[in-house]
């Protein structure tokens, strides 16, 4: 059965057809949202929300792009919006932690490679970070990224190049120590 046939059946209430679409795509969606969020609960929430929204909007899917691409665009949108909200809370928490450190006095700690990688990737601007995660960590093609983010392929390539340059700048010396 093709994706379009499954979608047509799912539109008519055939849950098994939607389950088949789910099975084909869930791994990639979960992996991507986990890469973006770094948290199992959030990744589960974003994945579930993406599939529920896709189901709600099946009537809007016209088949111009692959179903997976359409689903990725929903998942990325859900994850980015969710993370912006979470970030606001985290920033508030960090402010409180920083204030506590100021009171107690902070002990300098040399970050290990994992921490440095996390810090460097987290500090990438969202538009670079998303492309980097999709392309270099999860193997999305520039065509898929461009369709998911609604940008030109050239834009996707330029953002990836910029993200890599920033990471090389931040992590180059750490890698020399690491090797």
């Amino acid at each position: 059965m093709t994706d379009l046939e499954k979608i047509e059946r799912a539109r008519n209430g055939d849950q098994r057809a939607f389950k088949a679409l789910y099975d084909e795509n869930v791994d990639r969606i979960y992996r991507l949202t986990y890469r973006m969020a770094g948290d199992d609960d959030l990744a589960r929430d974003f994945t579930q929300e993406a599939f529920v929204r896709a189901y709600q909007r099946l009537d809007q899917f016209r088949g111009d792009a692959a179903f997976s691409t359409w689903l990725h665009s929903i998942a990325v949108s859900v994850a980015l919006n969710g993370l912006r909200k979470v970030d606001r809370h985290r920033k508030r928490e960090r402010s409180l932690e920083d204030a506590a450190h100021l009171v107690r006095g902070r002990e300098p700690v040399e970050p290990d490679l994992k921490d440095r990688i996390k810090e460097a990737v987290d500090e990438l601007p969202e538009i670079y970070r998303t492309v980097f995660l999709m392309h270099d960590l999860e193997g999305f093609s520039h065509g898929e990224i461009a369709a998911s983010l609604d940008v030109a392929e050239g834009t996707s390539k330029a953002r990836l190049s910029r993200a890599r340059a920033k990471l090389r700048e931040r992590l180059g010396d750490a890698m020399q120590e690491y090797v």
């Binding site: 979960y30 990688i117 270099d136």
Partner: protein, 221 residues
């Protein structure tokens, strides 16, 4: 492959291994959580049915202003009675009046919450369709004013007050981004979705539905 390429490859391998490396996909557990939200053949769905929402919207749009006028009258009466009775010292007969004021306010609050529920359902459906009816912005403003009036009127029921406060927050967010034609910019859409997500996180709609008496004709739900 040059030294530089090799170094870059090692760098990306390290990032791939160290940055938010995903565990095994909990496919079955997530599907179990998704299924109830898809709704069954019997129509027990929480999913917003766009077609149904459009039909409801078309039916309700024409009578919206009438409902608003009636609601405003009830609201003013409730608040008026509440304010008139508030300073009176306790005495014989007062509990009856206070009770009347309280129930009138409570009625007005539930009525406003009922219409807010309808509005938010319509906004959610509209956002999914990439547009918002310009009239909805006006209705949102009206409901925000009513909600604030009710909050200022000293509603004693804690659960109703909390719901009104949550509703006020959602409506303020919506008023802030609506307007400027019926098309939505990406930013507007994103902000509205965030407001609706916050509403969903706080379980606003289920709490309203739990509070509503079983009289859909009276409350327009």
């Amino acid at each position: 492959m040059t030294m530089s390429d090799e170094r870059n490859d090692r760098l990306w391998d390290a990032v791939r291994g160290e940055y938010h490396a995903p565990p095994e996909t909990p496919s079955g557990e997530m599907w179990d959580a998704i299924v109830p939200r898809l709704g069954g053949a019997e129509g027990e769905s929480e999913v917003v049915d766009l077609t149904a929402a459009r039909v409801r919207k078309a039916q309700k749009s024409s009578r919206w202003m009438g409902w608003s006028a009636a609601a405003a009258a009830v609201l003013v009466m409730g608040i008026g009675i509440g304010r008139m009775t508030a300073p009176v010292s306790p005495g014989e007969g007062v509990p009856v009046v206070a009770s009347t004021a309280g129930s009138t306010l409570s009625f007005a609050a539930r009525e406003t919450l009922g219409r807010s529920e309808t509005l938010l359902t319509m906004v959610r459906a509209d956002v999914q369709a990439g547009r918002v009816d310009p009239a909805v912005a006006t209705w949102t403003l009206v409901l925000l004013s009513e909600t604030r009036l009710l909050l200022d009127s000293g509603i004693e029921d804690e659960s109703v007050r909390e719901l009104l406060e949550d509703m006020e927050l959602v409506l303020v967010q919506l008023v802030g981004v609506m307007g400027g034609g019926d098309g939505l910019t990406d930013l507007q859409r994103s902000e509205i979705e965030l407001a609706l997500q916050g509403m969903s996180d706080r379980q606003v709609l289920p709490r309203i539905q739990a509070m509503m008496p079983q009289n859909p004709v009276l409350f327009g739900t």
